[in-house]
Amino acid sequence: MERLDSRVRVAWSLGALAGGAVVGALAVFADRFVVPVPTWAVAAVAVAVAALGLVHAALRYRRWRYAVQADALYLERGVLTEVETAVPFVRIQHVDTRRGPLARLLGLATVVVYTAGSRGADVAVPGLSPARARELRDEIRSLAGGDGEDAV
């Protein structure tokens, strides 16, 4: 089982801080226009949300595992809900790598695997180094390598 690149923690932590900031902004908005909220409460809510997010990010990184097995791409992830997913190579339609602006800054990439299944878009491996992402994509692509069979 492989783990994600540790830099993904930075990306997820930034996301948690952003979440805290948004909640703080909403509390300030509520204070101004709806009901008065004491300043300490605004700060406490924002900090609490950010802290929970940071803990979640750390646990999420610790839980994330993936493996290219003989017949399937296997994923294990989730903090509150633990999910294990097996994507059989025979079912894979195509594979993408994706890099958002933040991911590019941090030197990260995501591999997305599509199946005809309706929950197929769920299957993404985030937090890979660009080199590993390319490698993984090619590996999956060659294993999925169409035997001409209809994957539906």
Binding site: T81, V83, E84, A86, R91, A116, G117, S118, R119, G120
Partner: protein, 497 residues
């Protein structure tokens, strides 16, 4: 050379677009007149110009649209300003549906829709073609192209051939019309009721009077207790209204339902005023779902849905388009499942472990407690309303609700199929052939981990999964879940070779 749609399309398009753009011109003219920019003659000039432009566009649309079936593809060119050319390989066609409204039937016309697995909507709509052409196309497009050669040609009115697999009996139609509840109609009644106006209001007020309802509808003076009394009367009234409306729609939609096997397709036809017919390639069937609500279970009826990858979530839910047996005697429904999948869906299911039932009880109790607390806080802080406690009565319903949830969930992994059952109000029994599985998930929430339970999700390409359904085996023992997930994976690999 591509074929054009039926000339009637040209007439309808010309009129529709002419009137549309013409009336837009008229309103623009009226606005201009309001601003003193033009006189009456200007208004009529603009309307006339709009009419001509619109009519011209409608005609051009018809001229620009063409389709052809050649070399194993359906080719469609369309678009006046932006040309679009589509090629749909016949091997990829999932469903072909034909719809004929009352007027269209009068003139021998039909609307044809082609579904493929990709994309969210209908892949191609041919509206309108002549009846004969629709039947011819259905024959050529259905069954993925190859079978079209061997399939017997449908008779003149596009009817499935003589020996149908299933014909909806009178009792079954009655059961479907009367026992099926359609939430969509509730919305129509709630939004449409006020339009019918004072008659309805007077009736509701009269009915609510004994419960302490208001004397007349005046929102400013309405007390909270009066509002509750009024709600107690009007909510059931809306439900009954929705039920009557739904029954009428169901009767109209499913009268004369026939399902037949035609070559390698299933062909259906139904409908009283608007007639629907279509084909479902048997080789494309993903899952088969048996649906029963409590009333239907008592009376011994069940509905059957055949899911393919073709119908995208929303559309399949649309009352007009579902490819299924609306209602059948339970035994006949089970026989159909056996015929289609070779498996008995009426067997005994393995229920979740008993500790799952405690989990449901806790869940429902918490929900009731939350509602009651909210009502109490509301009554206290807003004041003037004393009926905060009725939600607490629901506590009495928690144990039976938990039991029923538990008793209607289960699964069987039998040979080449996984059968999953869940839901009390709308019990669904989904038959998932192993060779249709796409991915297998096993998931455990925090609460499930406490009780060593896990869900297994058997994902297929069926459109039903998008509707929030899909085959989820709820609350298995953790070890059993792992075993089931690996069995399903193994079944997949055997096939993948």
């Amino acid at each position: 050379m591509p074929t054009r749609l039926h000339p009637a399309t040209a007439v309808v398009d010309t009129l529709t677009y002419g009137v549309q753009v013409g009336s837009t011109g008229f309103f623009l003219g009226m606005l201009a007149m309001g601003a003193d920019a033009t006189g009456v003659e200007g208004v009529f000039l603009l309307a006339a110009v709009g009419l001509v432009l619109g009519a011209g566009y409608g005609l051009a649309r018809w001229l620009a649209f063409g389709y052809a079936v050649e070399d194993g593809t359906l080719r469609i060119v369309s678009g006046v300003l932006r040309r679009r050319e589509r090629e749909i390989p016949l091997g990829r066609v999932q469903n072909v549906d034909v719809q004929r409204g009352v007027l269209q039937r009068l003139f021998g016309l039909a609307e044809l829709r082609v579904e493929t697995a990709g994309g969210s909507g209908t892949e191609a709509t041919l509206a309108v073609v002549s009846d004969d052409e629709a039947a011819r196309l259905q024959g050529r497009l259905g069954g993925g192209g190859d079978a079209a050669v061997t399939a017997p040609a449908p008779d003149a009115d596009g009817a499935p051939d003589q020996a149908p697999l299933f014909r909806l009996g009178r009792r079954e139609l009655a059961a479907y019309v009367l026992t099926e509840f359609r939430p969509g109609t509730l919305l129509v009644v709630v939004l449409g009721g006020p339009l019918v106006g004072p008659v309805v209001a007077d009736l509701l007020l009269a009915a609510a009077a004994p419960l302490g309802g208001p004397e007349r509808l005046a929102w400013q003076t309405l007390t909270a207790d009066e509002a509750i009394a009024l709600a107690l009367v009007s909510i059931p009234a809306a439900v009954v209204g929705a039920w009557v409306l739904g029954a009428a729609l169901a009767y109209n939609g499913y009268r004369g339902f026939v399902l037949a096997e035609r070559g390698s397709d299933l062909a259906y036809r139904r409908g009283l005023l608007t007639e629907y017919s279509g084909t479902i390639p048997l080789a494309r069937v993903q899952t088969v779902t048996l649906r029963e609500n409590p009333l239907q279970r008592v009376l011994g009826f069940a509905g059957l849905t055949v899911d393919t990858a073709g119908y995208a979530g929303e559309e399949a839910g649309n009352s007009g388009r579902r490819s299924a047996v609306p209602m059948a005697d339970r035994e006949r429904a089970l026989a159909l499942v056996r015929h289609l999948e070779g498996v008995d869906a009426g067997r005994a299911f393995t229920r979740p472990p008993r500790r799952a039932r405690r989990r449901y009880a806790v869940r429902y109790a918490l929900a009731v407690a939350a509602v009651t607390a909210a009502a109490y806080v509301d009554a206290r802080s807003l004041g003037g309303f004393s009926l905060w406690w009725p939600p607490a009565l629901l506590f009495a319903a928690v144990p039976p609700a938990a039991h029923l949830t538990w008793a209607n969930r289960g699964h069987v992994d039998a040979g080449d199929h996984l059968l999953v059952q869940s839901g009390f109000w709308r019990r669904r029994t989904v038959v998932v052939p192993h060779d249709r599985l796409q991915t297998v998930h096993r998931s455990r929430t925090v609460f499930q981990r406490r009780r060593a339970l896990a869900d297994v999700v058997a994902d297929t390409a069926s459109g039903a999964v998008l509707r929030g359904g899909g085959a989820v085996v709820h609350d298995l023992d953790d070890g059993d879940a792992a075993a089931l997930a690996s069995r399903l994976r193994a079944a997949l690999d055997d096939r993948g070779g």
